[in-house]
């Protein structure tokens, strides 16, 4: 069931208990987890945190821990499957689920005792009504059928014939009604569950809880912002929803950070400040060179078609149009001429409009502490994602989780910078792979789908690609979900006009999937190659994870 009053029905219940937190492996879940951890540490709630990258890990961890805890909190996993069926817990265990995966499984919605959903009901949930799906009088029907069966077996006096005929008619009517109801139920459920999408960020839900209890801080607000930005970067929510949520967060930001505007009473330079920015959409451009950032951001790389020679020419034209000398653009952004950096955003936006890139600027936030440290929300998202998906030799999934979780704290700046470097490598590798796939015509079109197989040793001969993507010795291949505008635009299909679909490479192993959501319905995870699925998107729809 849905929890209406988060504070009373969720927080007050667990405040005196020990809880077990299951957290999925994505940045939104990490941010929600950090906010919840901060609240728990404030109120001395004893908890245990277990990272669960997939369904298998969730089941194993649950089996190990089920005797020790009564209250379980699941973050970004578990809402879209029948949880009680999978985990088989005892009667008195209670699950609190804060998940962005939609649609929410109907069993979870209508279970009154064990499953509590920490999901805001003003999200467009469209859960079917109870009576349409569940029917209480099924037992009566079964008894009737048994009775009718037993009656018809024995010998009957003819006096009861008419009554039996009436009974038979009644029963057939009931059976027909039942069949009709079942057919309708199937249709309703099919409509409800055919598309998967994502709802409000879990980090924002947790921040809301903190705000209701008046325990919200600037740090928690920053984590909520990062969670939301992660959803947008991974194309899990629409632009409209993103803008609405940014508006909500903007109010909180101005509430916490209004002292920065006042010249006399401003805080010291070491305090955290969050500021609203209408900044460029280029990935990591402030920590990289502008040229590299333009080449390796999905949006610009696909619009300018940078995998072809003409694309490179267009890039040069683009830079010339802005009046930025190549030498300046290729060096580190911080070292660029101040005169060029002054109106960079406006100049870029103007030129981008001419080259067909209308959404060059996006509303976002930046955090600022100390003299050197300034990050945009998207920078932090890229860094943390790259740490989460790092495939170093001895790092396991949980090691990466811990490292990524650490990098979100302000005191672990080295981890964050490490993440930024890794993110740069990853972005470069991805774009090289994509460019090679397109150039060597590996992309195959099948009806409304475009797909391409990436073999164990991918195309690009450069060492970058091989280190970050290639699974030597059969290890996992993981890349972050990226907007594959490139593929869409190369095919020149209508998909160009629609917002880009998101997709990700599956693990080469057969048993687990990238994120704990429903098992992929159309992708086969064979051990020798990982298929990559892309489909043109209509509205708030993304393909399988």
């Amino acid at each position: 069931m849905f929890v209406t009053d988060f504070r009373r029905d969720f927080y007050d219940v667990i405040q005196t208990e020990r809880v077990l937190l299951f957290v999925a492996s994505d940045v939104d879940a990490l941010c929600a987890c950090k906010i919840l951890q901060a609240l728990f540490q404030c109120d001395h709630v004893q908890y245990t945190l277990v990272p669960v990258p997939g369904w298998q890990e969730l089941e194993t961890s649950f089996l190990e821990h089920k005797d020790q805890f009564h209250y379980f909190i699941l973050i970004n996993c578990g809402a879209n499957v029948d949880l009680l069926d999978i985990l088989q817990p005892e009667e008195d265990r209670i699950f609190f689920i804060c998940d962005t995966h939609r649609p929410v499984n109907v069993v979870n919605v209508y279970n009154d005792t064990q499953i509590k959903l920490l999901i805001k009901q003003d999200d467009d949930l469209e859960v079917p009504a109870y009576d349409d799906i569940f029917r209480d009088d099924e037992e009566e029907d079964e008894e009737d059928e048994e009775q009718s069966g037993s009656e018809s077996e024995g010998s009957e006096p003819s006096g009861k014939r008419t009554r039996r005929e009436e009974d038979v008619i009644e029963r057939t009517l009931k059976r027909r009604q039942r069949r009709e109801w079942e057919a309708r139920r199937k249709e309703i459920l099919f409509d409800y569950e055919q598309y998967e999408y994502h709802g409000t960020s879990s980090a924002m839900v947790m921040f809301d809880l903190a705000w209701v209890m008046s325990k919200d801080l600037n740090d928690m607000l920053w984590w909520a912002i990062v969670g939301l930005t992660d959803q947008w970067i991974q194309d899990k929510i629409t632009q409209m929803k993103y803008v609405t949520d940014i508006g909500i967060l903007q109010r909180h930001v101005s509430r916490h950070n209004h002292r920065n505007e006042d010249e006399e009473n401003s805080l010291s330079i070491d305090c955290t400040r969050i500021a609203f920015e209408y900044d460029l959409r280029l990935a990591l451009y402030q920590h990289w060179s502008l040229y590299d950032s333009l080449c390796n951001t999905c949006y610009t790389a696909s619009r300018l078609r940078l995998w072809s020679v003409q694309g490179q020419k267009r890039l040069q034209e683009f830079l010339a149009d802005m009046g930025l000398p190549l030498k300046q653009v290729k060096q580190k952004f911080q070292a660029m001429d101040v005169s060029l950096k002054e109106n960079l955003r406006e100049i870029l936006e103007e030129s981008a409009n001419k080259f067909g890139m209308k959404d060059m600027r996006v509303q976002t936030f930046s955090i600022h502490f100390g003299f050197k440290n300034k990050f945009l929300a998207s920078d932090v998202v890229f860094a943390t994602t790259s740490l989460l998906e790092n495939i170093e030799k001895d790092a396991s999934g949980t090691d990466n989780f811990i490292r990524a979780l650490d990098s979100l704290s302000r005191s672990n700046l080295e981890q964050l910078y490490q993440g930024l470097e890794l993110a740069k490598k990853q972005l470069r590798a991805i774009h090289q792979t994509v460019a090679s796939c397109i150039c060597t015509n590996l992309v195959i079109s099948q009806g409304p789908f475009l797909y391409c197989y990436l073999m164990e040793v991918p195309g690009p001969p450069s060492s970058l690609g091989q280190d970050t993507l290639a699974p030597p010795h059969g290890r996992d291949v993981l890349t972050p979900p990226q907007g594959w505008d490139t593929l869409a635009s190369s095919r020149g299909q209508e998909a160009l006009l629609a917002p880009t679909p998101a997709s990700s490479l599956l693990r080469a192993r057969q048993t687990s999937s990238c994120s704990p959501s429903r098992p992929p319905w159309a992708c086969s995870a064979s051990t020798c190659c990982s298929p990559l699925f892309v489909r043109p998107r209509t509205s708030a729809v993304s393909c399988c994870p």
Binding site: R18, Q37, Q46, P51, Q68, D399
Partner: protein, 242 residues
């Protein structure tokens, strides 16, 4: 002579100056003093109290808090030296008394001060060791690791047990019925609970209310401070500072 908690090793210089002064004053009986000194120590250039200073230096070398092995040998040698000096003194005193020879008196005085010096050094050595053993109780709790137990002499072990008993009696009489464990929390803690991360697979770990927590690698827990301290010291858990 007063007892100081920390031994000073100015003794060597003192001995040298003392000897030189004595030499200057009683030059006539110099040869006899020299001869007796040489006889007692049994080697050229060696001095009294050197062994005792060795003991002190050994303790001084061990870093603060560590307990080196009990130097049974050293103590025995010092005691032998003291016995030898004492016997020589005894015979010389008898000689002086009977023969009325006043030229032996400086030698007797010299040997006497060496004896006092030896005694001071040994007492300082033993006392410092006791202080270190006492600190062990506060750091490690009532059970000392075996390695350290071998470093203690039998008497020191007995002393330790007595100390433990006194401390336990004292703690029981504080804080009402259950007593108060004052060896916990030497510094006022910042928080009752701390966040810890598990570095290796440990297994089940019991918490206060009887239930247990499974400590698996890379899981994070928020547990009461006193429960985690043991495991942090062992290296199973790591305190996470955020």
């Amino acid at each position: 002579m007063g007892l100081a908690p920390k031994p000073d090793f100015r003794g060597r210089k003192e001995g040298g100056a003392f000897l030189a002064a004595r030499r200057r004053r009683f030059r006539c009986s110099w040869t006899r003093v020299e001869a007796s000194v040489g006889l007692a120590v049994g080697g050229r250039g060696a001095m009294f109290c050197e062994k005792a200073i060795e003991l002190i230096r050994e303790l001084h070398r061990a870093p603060d808090g560590q307990l080196p092995a009990f130097n049974d040998d050293g103590i025995r040698q010092v005691l032998e030296e003291m016995k030898a000096l004492y016997e020589q003194n005894q015979s010389d005193v008898n000689e002086t008394k009977s023969d009325g020879r006043s030229d032996l008196i400086p030698t007797i005085k010299f040997r006497h001060s060496s004896l006092l010096r030896n005694r001071r050094c040994i007492v300082a050595y033993l006392y410092d060791r006791l202080l270190r053993i006492r600190a062990l109780r506060w750091e490690y709790g009532s059970v000392i690791p075996n390695a350290l137990r071998f470093h203690m002499s039998a008497e020191e072990v007995e002393w330790f047990n007595h100390y433990k008993k006194s401390l336990a009696t004292y703690m029981r009489c504080l804080g009402g019925d259950e007593g108060l464990d004052i060896t916990q929390d030497m510094k006022p803690p910042k928080s009752l609970y701390i966040e810890v991360r598990c570095l290796k697979d440990y297994g089940e770990f019991e918490v206060d209310d009887g239930t247990s927590v499974l400590l698996k690698k890379n899981s994070q827990h928020f547990l009461p401070r006193w429960k985690c301290e043991q495991l942090i010291r062992q290296g199973v858990l790591e305190h996470v500072l955020s």
